[in-house]
Amino acid sequence: MAALNGTSTVIQLDQVNKWYGQFHVLTDINLQVKQGEKIVICGPSGSGKSTLIRCINRLEEHQAGSIVVSVDGKSIELSNDVKNVEAIRKEVGMVFQSFNLFPHLTILDNLTLAPIWVKKMPKKEAEEIAMSLLHRVRIPEQANKYPGQLSGGQQQRVAIARALCMRPQIMLFDEPTSALDPEMVKEVLDVMIELAREGMTMLVVTHEMGFARSVADRVIFMDRGEIVEEGPPKEFFANPRNERTRTFLSQILHH
């Protein structure tokens, strides 16, 4: 994807380190994400891939190194300053493995909550945006139901729409299809592929290698808190350089 060469960097991680107690979860992570780039992060469980993207919107705190998110020409470095954190979260949407929809609110209220309270958007405008997003993820008829009444695939599509409702510059996906029944994976991936085609900057932690092949600009393989290998998907899958990458790929691509 040569088109990305001229565009600006939106996320910059320098020597990021993180420990859980004595356990070193992230070791010297360096990562640059350009505007519009789609990055797939894979690796065995416990390799720190989820922790890595959760550091970007400060759901987890890193202890050393720096994380800078640049939106609309402004660079914000993550620190303990709540103002900075909130500014970044406004621009970075996140989709979780377990959806995390708010069960006491209707689908529509789930979508409009953040725009109304964080962006102070008038309710009517927020609802219009929400409905257009529900059309995009193909479930406008569910707007007045509660999350518990929807299937897993529908819930995850609502979760994507909810994140998009804030008009974020960057989207983080933390294993978005891992908790889904197999027949529902595709409907969620289709929405994500569509989003990717529209030029959204995406960081996706997933084991869906088909998605990585068709959408990713770069695939990153992590193991034991380190970035072991990264490259364009073609190269990455055809001839992985590192032994650990080969082992991992042979384990998940066994058929």
Binding site: R89, M94, T106, V118
Partner: protein
């Protein structure tokens, strides 16, 4: 969603009905009550006992009972209940030693509080503005009726105005237009100047009296109004206070967390009676001589503190039951702490704890009767006091049954409301 099988369009099997097990009332009786000799004998004996007990109660409570009498002597020897004592003592039981000709005042106060409670039970009233109006008006009416007159201290009012306008000046700085800002600033400055002059002693203390009826001090209050005031305002304050304590206990700031834990454990480790006695006997010893805080108010505060600690622990249970993902989703969307707590966390946490919460409310409604220890005449105390009358001695059963029935009405309504609320709030969220 249809699930087609690979085998092709075979005719679908008709849905089988469950086997019939119910064979009518007679079948049920045979199966459950007379399935064996042992069961049959037990059934017959129990039926005989129930009939005997029923006829005894019917005789005592209705057939042989005395419903009106001049004094207790007429009831002696009838072998039935003496309900006449309830009629004779009704006004004392409900209103205590409140001046006799003014009994309509506590009556209307009770009705006002009931109205306030019933209105607040409706979900449509659950926003800050409506609740503030209901409770504001209800409270003024209730205490106007009970006291008969209210003296509003100008200093206190101006202090409240000062704080409110200062807050408005600070928080609406960015959104308000010029006129609005000028008004806020002017009000802040004026009330501030007044307060300074008051503190310096330049201006005398002054209060605006609103006199509608004759003044009745809290010492003369009694009966159901007292129980209801203690319970209603006790829980109305303890509930938000308990929520704050629960949130504080989970705070990341060690000082706040420590204070909340210390307070909760201290209060929970002490019986309510000792707290009440401390409030009534020990507190005045620590206050500078000449100052006095009303005994009723002290008891009310003790009840609030006590209930708050218990409510805090229940709410904490609800907070802990909430999946971590809910907090994370709220954070990831950029909600701040207050928004996250009020929009996401509390609505879900409180829903989970409705049954134990109402359980505590019911417990506290009954626990308010402990204030009789420090000489406050609540409903139970006036009821038992009614027995002291020499004309009517010897009928404690009737009086206490009546008191129990009144308590039961309140507690059972709360219990039903809890059930309704659970159902109502879980509408649609169930699968």
């Amino acid at each position: 969603m249809s699930q087609a099988t690979e085998a092709g369009p075979a005719t679908p099997r008709p849905a089988a009905l469950p086997p019939v097990v119910d064979a009518g009332a007679l079948g049920w009786i045979r199966k459950n009550l007379f399935s064996s000799w042992g069961n049959a004998i037990t059934t017959v004996l129990l039926i005989a006992f129930i009939v005997w007990l029923g006829s005894f109660l019917l005789n005592w409570a209705v057939l042989k009972a005395t419903f009106s009498a001049e004094s207790g002597k007429e009831c002696v020897g009838t072998g039935g209940a003496c309900w006449a004592i309830i009629g004779a003592k009704l006004r004392y039981i409900f209103f205590g030693s409140f001046p006799y000709d003014q009994h309509w005042r506590p009556l209307f106060a009770i009705v006002t509080m009931l109205g306030m409670l019933v209105l607040s039970c409706d979900r449509r009233m659950w926003n800050a503005g409506r609740l503030a109006i209901i409770w504001g008006i209800g409270t003024v009416i209730t205490f106007m009726l009970m006291f008969g007159q209210i003296h509003i201290p100008v200093t206190l009012v101006s202090a409240i105005i000062f704080v409110a306008s200062l807050a408005a000046t600070l928080f609406r700085r960015t959104v308000a237009d010029n006129t609005e800002r000028t008004v806020y600033t002017a009000v802040t400055v004026l009330s501030g100047i007044y307060l300074i002059l008051r503190v310096l002693g330049v201006l005398p203390s002054y209060s605006v009296p609103i006199v509608l009826f004759s003044y009745v001090e809290t010492g003369s209050w009694g009966g159901l109004a007292v129980t209801m005031i203690l319970a209603t305002y006790g829980l109305a304050f303890a509930f938000p206070y308990g929520i704050l304590l629960a949130l504080g206990r989970r705070s990341n700031l060690p000082l706040i967390r420590g204070l909340c834990i210390g307070f909760i454990e201290l209060i929970r480790g002490v019986p309510l009676i000792s707290l009440l006695i401390m409030a009534s006997v020990m507190l005045p010893l620590f206050l500078p001589s000449g100052t006095s805080i009303d005994k009723f108010l002290r008891a009310q505060v003790a009840v609030i503190l006590f209930a708050g600690a218990y409510i805090a622990e229940i709410v904490r249970g609800g907070l802990q039951a909430l999946p971590k993902g809910q907090f994370e989703a709220a954070d990831a969307m950029g909600l701040n702490y207050v928004q996250r707590t009020t929009l996401i966390v509390l609505p879900q946490a409180l829903r989970v704890v409705i049954p134990p919460l109402i359980n505590t409310f019911i417990g506290f409604f009954k626990d308010t009767s402990l204030v009789l220890i420090i000489g406050i005449f609540d409903f139970l105390k006036t009821a038992s006091q009614a027995l002291v009358d020499p004309l009517w001695t010897g009928f404690p059963g009737e009086i206490y049954l009546f008191a129990a029935a009144v308590y039961f009405c309140f507690c059972f309504s709360m219990s039903r409301y809890s059930k309704y609320l659970e159902h109502e709030l879980n509408k649609g969220t169930r699968r």
